[in-house]
């Protein structure tokens, strides 16, 4: 489990590097995931990225099958987007003003 950074999409704003709790992302003009095996999977960087360049995935050793996940934000709605290996897309909307039911 770790993140992939799409260097084509990255605009070099540095927000992901700033918030990573492990200081794992470094800037060389653009963001670079320097220590992929040290990622905790908190997805802080994913939620900070303004251009959806940071994507989260599960490692094969914990059952991952290759999907990439990122978030989009519109007002109070946080949309989690999953790009599956077969090209299909799944989305789940979370209203930040609504509590968990469980």
């Amino acid at each position: 489990m770790s993140i992939l950074i799409d260097r084509e999409l990255c605009i070099g704003c540095g927000r992901c590097a700033e918030v990573c709790p492990g200081n794992l992302i470094q800037m060389d003009g653009k963001a670079l995931m320097k220590y992929p095996k040290d990622c905790w999977g908190c997805t802080s960087c994913v939620k900070e990225c303004p251009v959806n360049a940071v994507k989260f995935f599960l490692g094969a050793d914990i059952g991952g099958r290759g999907s990439l996940v990122y978030t989009k934000q519109r007002g109070d709605i946080l949309t989690w987007v999953m790009e599956c290996p077969d090209g299909s897309i799944k989305e789940i909307d979370i209203n930040r003003k609504e509590s968990n039911q469980y």
């Binding site: 095996k37 930040r96 509590s99 469980y102």
Partner: protein, 562 residues
């Protein structure tokens, strides 16, 4: 390295839950006091709440009292708790909850506007943004300065009085010497001591943040502070692979623990935290594994709510369900115990403090996961301790001017950091030594591979091997400041391991299955061990101190204090 000398009224080491709340408390009660928070990452997403949290687990629900919470925590820990700390914390839990709501945290309410409770002590929330909310509140404070990406590594102590602390930037070649009238330590607990569930690519997919390396414990141990109950390790029962929480399933949809035959086994072993883990280990060893939470048969509506709840705290679990195409209603969720952690927010491990949260070092206060004696703090309890420690620190600083830190001490501390930047790469690198430490702890000090059990002989081997690794860690070399941070983290963990092994050896009984399961002494022994096991590092050796239990009627003060 460049040297920067700073001074402040109150230094807060660690800007997690407790640290942020300590700063908010000081700003409210002494608006002119200068506060400096040093944080290894960025307070917006640092500490164990980086990903969010999906419930408040410590709230006094209607019809219950703070004393009930004390009784509950005492029972769960089989008596080894501090009544005074639990009660003073419990009395603040609901005020902390109300403050979180004022800061913007969403808490579920019924149509009458009352909080909706989950179980006896829990509230349902949307806690994905809990850390940004706290950070925003802190960043609005006028006299509070936050220094992100600064890793504090050592305390400065003169006699038994705190003078400040030392640390390094994790990015630039800067060494900090920070003088303070009072210091509040809230660095969190220790993960990464033991081999994790998945030692390969996903080695950091663990319950507790892998970046909480026990820095606060290690700083205190090295400075001669007294520690308590490190032997009460914490092992979480989690969803297999994703290490996502199980409480959401157990309490949210009433899922029971079942074995591979579909039999409910949780009532066979008991329902305390350690008993739930123990039962799962025993079912596995009896050939009835793997174990599950029985979710089959819940409704599609519940599936959908669960997917959202996990995205707000542990997104990996939702992704796992989506990728497998099998929802919890269609397939039970497999569970497993994690590797052991030292974490005073869940068990009673940490600094030995008085009722005001002052450690045995005068002017050093502890709050949150680093503070001992007070288990089951969770989020609201960490906030409460941040508040209590902050008020005590303010009181202390009014009558104690900041002592000087001598130039000789600064030079010595800085030289020990620079050594790693200058010396040539030795035979082993940091990662190899970290893996070696985790393997030793796994095999000889009761890790997952040993079903959390150990005996005297094994602990003696663990002690010897950890000591060898400490010596080897002196030879490490850092090419940059990130690598220097990693060397310090390894050395912190080794220091904690050494003390932990001393504690495991000292409690010659089995009071908590899995948390401290001593095969040479498999029974609970109230005649000899209804007491705290405390320790101090003296001349490089762990000295064990036994102390009597403290009840909630008592205001505890350190006995040896002038």
């Amino acid at each position: 390295m460049e040297l920067q000398k700073l001074h402040t009224d109150v230094l807060i080491i660690g800007g997690g839950t407790a640290g942020c709340y300590a700063a908010l408390t000081i700003a409210e009660h002494a608006p002119d006091a200068r506060v400096l928070i040093c944080e290894k990452a960025n307070i917006r997403r640092s500490g164990c709440l980086a990903a969010g949290v999906n419930a408040l687990n410590a709230y006094i629900t209607e019809g219950r009292t703070p004393q009930d919470y004390v009784d509950h925590a005492r029972q769960d820990a089989a008596e080894i708790v501090r009544g005074d700390l639990l009660l003073t914390m419990s009395e603040q839990l609901n005020a902390m909850t109300a403050h979180l709501e004022r800061l913007g945290l969403v808490i579920l309410k019924d149509e009458k506007g009352n909080y909706v409770t989950r179980g006896k002590w829990n509230l349902k929330i949307n806690g994905e943004n809990i850390k940004p909310l706290l950070a925003d509140a802190v960043n609005r404070l006028e006299h509070v300065t936050v220094m992100d990406h600064v890793n504090m590594t050592d305390l400065s102590v003169s006699g038994d009085q705190i003078c400040g602390a030392f640390g390094c930037s994790v990015e630039k070649e800067i060494f900090y010497s920070i003088r303070a009238k009072a210091v509040i330590i809230c660095t969190g607990g220790a993960a990464g001591l033991y081999q994790p569930n998945h030692p390969g690519f996903s080695r950091h997919k663990m319950w507790y943040p892998p970046f909480n390396t026990g820095a606060g414990y290690a700083m205190g141990i090295r400075a001669g502070a007294e520690m308590t109950t490190l032997e009460m390790r914490f092992i979480a029962l989690r969803c297999k692979d994703t290490i996502a929480p199980t409480g959401t399933l157990a309490q949210g949809v009433g899922a029971k623990q079942v074995n591979a035959l579909g039999e409910v086994y949780e009532d066979k072993y008991g329902l305390t935290t350690s008993q739930r883990v123990h039962g799962t280990v025993m079912e596995d060893l009896s050939g009835r594994g793997p174990c599950y939470l029985k979710t089959e048969g819940i409704t599609p509506q519940q599936d959908s709510s669960l997917m959202k709840a996990y995205l707000n705290m542990a997104p990996a679990q939702t992704i796992k369900w989506l990728e497998s195409g099998k929802m919890p209603s269609q397939q039970n969720v497999e569970i497993e115990g994690t590797e052991p952690y030292i974490v005073g927010g869940h068990t009673a491990s940490g600094y030995w403090v008085d009722t005001n949260r002052e450690t045995t070092i005068h002017g050093l206060f502890a709050a949150g996961d680093v503070a001992g004696g007070c288990p089951q703090k969770y989020v609201t309890g960490a906030l409460a301790e941040g508040k209590i420690a902050a008020l005590s620190a303010l009181n202390y600083m009014r009558s104690h001017p900041a002592p000087e830190i001598s130039d000789a001490e600064i030079s010595e501390q800085m030289a020990s950091a620079e050594k790693f930047l200058h010396q040539k790469q030795a035979r082993f690198d940091c990662e190899q030594l970290e893996e070696a430490m985790q393997t030793v702890m796994d095999h000889y000090a009761g890790g997952i591979g040993a079903n959390y059990r150990y005996n005297e002989k094994q602990l003696a081997i663990a002690e010897e091997r950890i000591s060898q690794l400490e010596t080897l860690s002196d030879t490490l070399s850092a090419a940059n400041m990130h690598e220097l941070m990693r060397i310090y983290e390894l050395r912190e963990r080794l220091t904690v391991c050494k003390s932990l092994i001393g504690h495991l050896r000292a409690r010659k009984e089995t009071r908590w299955h899995c948390f401290a399961e001593h095969l040479d002494y498999p029974e609970r022994d109230d005649a000899n061990y209804l007491c705290y096991i405390n320790s101090k590092l003296e001349n490089g050796r762990i000295k064990i101190i036994r102390r009597r239990l403290v009840r909630e009627e008592e205001h505890y003060e350190h006995p040896d204090r002038p």
